[in-house]
């Protein structure tokens, strides 16, 4: 295979990854790593570098629209970014001491978890009374809807912050946005309404990924020949996805995608145990 064909196939793959990632809310990085390692037999370290770049591209691309609409809770994102960036730096340090097959196994587990999270029921419910800390930190807010702005309050700020640290650490170690864990922290622990938590999580992915990307760039994980088709493909895919999202029903798509992701995850875990990385 020449570099030319490699680039074209990767461009197409990255496009589909960006499309699937934006339709299901999983982000671009999740598909990039298995695509590069299982299909192209690229070393997982290059794949992690590419996935980080993909995560920043999709996050920044879609966050720009959500922030302008006022759905994203910028203060909440900013506060939790302390946890995710600190976690990401720890993850990037941990990565030095973690054998690649362990990284592959962890990645597989994270994939299965993400697939399960895509399928769970979403809660739009907004709390009317928040915890003390939520007022002190000015984390409560409101978001626009068809029936005017909806106010919401937050709970369990400490628990959310702790889960975010783990999310950041996994993001730094595996090169993914770990959006699924971020949503878990905000939805399940802090009781943020679903629309706010997904957009705020997406908003945070860029900064979290950048915190470890600056380390990985210096370590030589980011290869230009892989990076450019990934950036272009994922951005174009995410753009198509955001246009399609309004028109199609994604429920069946999410189910198919989750099953596919789980199979890929099992493959990664199996290969990890057999030291095929």
């Amino acid at each position: 295979m020449t570099i030319f064909t490699f680039t074209l196939i990767l461009l197409l793959g990255a496009y589909l990854a960006g499309l699937a990632g934006s339709l299901t809310g999983l982000g671009g990085g999740v598909v990039i790593i298995p695509l590069l390692t299982l299909f192209f037999h690229v070393d997982i370290r290059y794949a992690i570098g590419a996935a980080l770049v993909a995560s920043i591209a999709t996050s920044s691309g879609s966050a720009s629209a959500y922030v302008k609409e006022g759905i994203t809770n910028v203060r909440l994102g900013m506060f939790l970014e302390i946890a995710t960036t600190a976690g990401a730096v720890m993850g990037a340090i941990l990565a030095i001491y973690t054998p690649v097959n362990i990284v592959a196994i962890l990645f597989g587990i994270m994939l299965i978890f993400s697939a399960a999270m895509t399928l769970r029921k979403k809660s739009e419910a907004a709390l009317t009374v928040g915890s003390k800390l939520s007022y002190t930190l000015k984390l409560n807010g409101s978001y626009p809807s068809k029936n005017g702005p909806i106010a919401y309050k937050l709970n369990n700020v400490g628990a959310g912050f702790s889960i975010m640290t783990i999310a950041g650490m996994l993001s730094g170690l595996l090169g993914i946005g770990s959006g699924a864990l971020k949503v878990l922290a905000m939805d399940t622990a802090m009781k943020v309404p679903f629309r706010v938590s997904t957009t705020t999580s997406n908003f945070m992915v860029g900064v979290t990924a950048a915190a470890s990307a600056v380390v990985y760039l210096q370590r030589g994980y980011i290869d230009p020949g892989i990076a450019f088709p990934v950036i272009i493909g994922v951005l174009a895919g995410a753009f198509t996805g955001s246009k399609l999202l309004m028109k199609i029903n994604v429920n069946s798509l999410k189910l198919i995608f989750s099953i596919a992701i789980t199979l890929i995850a099992l493959n990664m875990i199996y290969n990890g145990f057999n030291h095929k990385f």
Partner: protein
């Protein structure tokens, strides 16, 4: 009442500003990646990819000075890496703009919080964690 209204305005302004920063960052880095990519394929398209083993990238791709040196020589790989750099810089610049907005809003708590995030990222950048 008036102060509250003012505060809302700046929050809204900050959201618009952050949105623009993210959008232009992505557009610029994407365009540079396309230009560099086409040039790269023209130069090396007939070669064979070598990604199955990890060698780490040469210094030219991993540091700002290396990338700038390559740019001066018109090297395609360094043009792409410049696009990557701008992409990575985009969320960091976003934090910087948020900090400025919080300073204008005189929101002390969030000036501190935003500074911590910025500090962590700068630490990550310059602490020599590349080992």
């Amino acid at each position: 009442m008036i102060t509250k209204e003012n505060k809302k305005m700046t929050d809204y302004d900050m959201e618009q500003l952050i949105g623009q920063v993210l959008r232009y960052g992505v557009l610029i880095s994407g365009s540079i990646a396309i230009i560099g990519g086409i040039w790269y394929l023209y130069q090396q398209g007939s070669g064979t990819p070598h990604y199955t083993t990890f060698n780490g990238e040469p210094a030219g791709y991993t540091s700002l000075t290396g990338i700038l040196k390559g740019l001066a020589q018109g090297s395609a790989s360094e043009i792409i890496q410049l696009g990557v750099l701008i992409l990575i810089a985009t969320p960091i610049i976003r934090i910087f703009f948020s900090l400025v907005s919080f300073i204008i809003e005189k929101d002390r708590l969030y000036i501190v919080i935003t500074s911590i995030v910025l500090f962590i990222i700068l630490f990550s950048m310059f602490a020599g964690l590349k080992v």
